[in-house]
Amino acid sequence: MIFHSLDFLLFFLFVLAVYWQLGRRAQNLFLLGMSYFFYGYVHPWFLYLIFASTVVDYFCGLTIARHPEKKRFVLWFSIVSNLTFLCYFKYFGFFVDNVAELLHLLGLPSFTNTLDIFLPVGISFYTFQSMSYIIDVYAGRLKARENFFEFALFVVFFPQLVAGPIERAITFLPQIEKERSISATDVRDALFLLVWGFFKKLVIADNVAYIANKLFALEETTFALAWTGVFAFGVQVYADFSAYTDIAHASARLIGFKLSPNFNHPFIAASPAEFWKRWHISLSSYIQDYIFLPLYFRFRTRGVRYAVEKGLLITFFLIGLWHGAGWNFILFGIYHGMLVIVYDRCKVVTPIGIRENPWMRPFQILLMFSLANVGFLLFRESEMDYILRHLTLSPLAATGELQWRAACFLFGQALFFSLPLWIHTAYAHMGHRLIPAESWFRTFLQVMVSAAMFLAILVARGDSEEFIYFQF
């Protein structure tokens, strides 16, 4: 079930109507049932997978608690079984394709991949979430849970099930286990967030998607047209994914839960490291805690720099692979890993007067935004020939008058649609100084902006596409 559908609206109104009439334990059971309904709404067989994953991790958690001497074996059993599900559904087809291609290149008898494995929505998100539980139980940071239903609710909690944020058991399970309440302030904040989320999805993301799709589909292109397409896609992917996160946050808040942050205005990051502290925060912090740090401590004996850089390359490779089974995603990960390493090395040789100078920050942001766009190209374009074509287009090459005007036309539209994102970022950084958080004027402003956004959703929404991150 997708958020921007009437099905979800009806579903969620029903959930709200019943949920707040129940006590905590019944609320949890009800939410569990509703979450399974939400997930199995289109393809009921998805439920077998998520249920299997839940059962495995629940019993592994209990086994670790009851038989500490076997905990290492159980941890690996859980990780291997989770990754087996993930790898089969997400990467097996990719692997088979590449083996066939390699055999063909070597002149050996090859084959055609006729496997068409259907990717269950959100499998990467709930697999990671479920694994965080086992790792934390193994590390002694979290007690294994006895109550199966509460653990199952943690895995399948519908607001963030299909596209995150990736919740940690250590922060989310306690919320399931305690009484929840709701206040008018919660509802008010959730309403604003809902309208903002739907606006970002339906007005910004879906409209710029049209521009990006058109430009990425061109056979012959120019520098200006190609990079207008990349810019439009960058805006799309941010608006789309952060919209999902906002709607997830708002929905969770309306049922008394608080989710982890996932975005913090990534387009004003001044360095790759800062970008990843602002972009898909729940994934980058997960990877940092569960993969990078263990790797760092493993490699540290060979020097700090070696450990950091090797750890970074491996973790960013995995971030790329997590996003999808394709060489472009792997390149996306490695590219960002290299950026972090190169920036880190440059930092050492750049005088602090330049590095920390506030006047330099706009230039640093502009540079990082441009570099992030190269990353978005790798993210969007799955064919290597076309990636290479984009990267080798010269801005100095002669461009026809029509091509130039077309690029201006589409860039103007993409920029126009992205304006609310920039205004929101500027407001988040400066608005608090101008308008106090608890003032009536701020509430008035929020209401007026929400009303305008609702009107825009009605009259200027694009042709609705699925959320991009559903495929991961």
């Binding site: 009806l10 006590g23 009484e179 860039f411 007026m448 009605l458």
Partner: protein, 374 residues
């Protein structure tokens, strides 16, 4: 037995009932909701009164055509009635078609326009794509679609309401309700698109920027010629964009990616869908009104290399079941999916033929079904 389900902690009860926020608690939430949701509902726009539109009926009576074609915009883009008149001198063809129509409207046209007109054509052609004969809802769910239905129904349409009610379901009814509540979304959408185009054009055209500056800040009034020239230039620019940069010849052949949706499509279950379709009535009425009824399945645009399209197994089964049903009912089916004369470049998009190839398409159609045009 289930008392524990109702057990609530004192804190949660307090949190639910005892909240009084600084801005008036729950009253502020209601007020905020009202400010966001109510104003757009008050903008009603211009709505025409819904009366039966007898345009088709009158034109049929005037023309007395030998060949009547029923279908949507895909039919309108393919068949040129004037060309049929020149290919078969002395005969007339009439297109009973509208953009965005599906079998729900086709049924109403045949029942309320063709049948009462008294016209008895030699052949009634019903053009459809894939599952449209058993899938009556598409744009019929929009305000425009609802208006089309309202203009083509006559009095009590029990069968129509029963079939449509089945397909709409709860969600469809809610969507209709929302469209009635917020008609602004249909009436303002064109203005929104015009504005967005204007913003792009502002960035692309220095002349337009000069014109706007003059219009907004200039002391001399804008002449109607200047305004008309700007509108014309905007149209020319968009036509060049579509015809040169985004022409079909400049489109990449995109490699297929694993889709996010799949599995069995219930729309392809012909026998289950037939019970809730207008097809049986279309067949019955068609046989009553015309000497011969021919269903024509229209082809989609072929791939860029003009190779043949492969059909999924489920679609193949659906088409076989449709063919069997129509054969039992004694009507014909012609499937143009195997037609090789229509090339990729002849199509405007996935379903429509470019205007300059309409005549060619008509000729090929008449040639292929020459026996029906004797």
């Amino acid at each position: 037995m289930f008392s524990w389900l109702k057990a609530r902690s004192p804190e949660s009860r307090q949190a639910r009932s005892g909240v009084r926020d600084r801005w008036g608690g729950w009253a502020s939430v209601a007020l905020i909701l009202a400010v966001i949701l109510v104003p757009p509902a008050l903008i009603r726009g211009q709505r025409e009164p819904m009366r039966f539109d007898d345009r088709h009926l009158r034109q049929l009576q005037t023309l007395q055509p030998e060949y009547v074609f029923v279908g949507s915009s895909t039919l309108l883009s393919r068949i040129d009635p004037a060309r049929i008149g020149t290919l078969r001198p002395g005969t007339h063809a009439y297109l009973l078609g509208e953009v965005g129509s599906m079998s729900a409207l086709w049924y109403l046209w045949v029942k309320n326009s063709l049948l009462p007109s008294g016209v008895r054509p030699k052949v009634l052609f019903i053009h459809f794509r894939d599952t449209e004969l058993t899938d009556p809802i598409d744009e019929t769910g929009s305000v425009v679609g609802q208006e089309k239905i309202a203009r083509n129904r006559v009095g009590d349409e029990r069968l129509f309401d029963r079939v449509m009610g089945y397909h709409k379901g709860v969600i469809g009814r809610l969507r209709e309700g929302l469209l009635r509540l917020y008609p602004i979304q249909e009436t303002w959408r064109k203005s929104g698109l015009w504005l967005i185009d204007g913003i792009g054009f502002f960035a692309a055209s220095p002349e337009y920027r000069v014109y706007l500056r003059k219009r907004l800040f200039g002391s001399d009034p804008i002449t109607s010629d200047e305004a008309a020239e700007v509108v014309a230039e905007r149209g020319r620019f968009k036509a060049r964009l579509a015809g040169e940069i985004f022409s079909s010849a400049n489109q990449r052949v995109l490699k297929g990616k694993g889709g996010l949706t799949g599995g069995a499509d219930e729309r392809l279950d012909f026998s289950a869908r037939l019970e809730h379709a207008f097809l049986p009535e279309l067949v019955r009425l068609g046989k009553e009104v015309a000497a011969r009824v021919i269903f024509v399945r229209m082809e989609p645009r072929p791939p860029m290399d003009d190779s043949s399209l492969t059909e999924s197994g489920a679609m193949g089964d659906y088409q076989a079941a449709l063919r069997g049903y129509l054969a039992r009912e004694g009507v014909e089916l012609h499937d143009f999916n195997d037609e090789r004369a229509f090339k990729f470049d002849m199509y405007l998009d996935g379903g429509h033929i470019k205007p300059e190839f309409r005549s060619f398409y008509t000729e090929r159609f008449v040639e292929r079904l020459s026996e029906a045009f004797r």
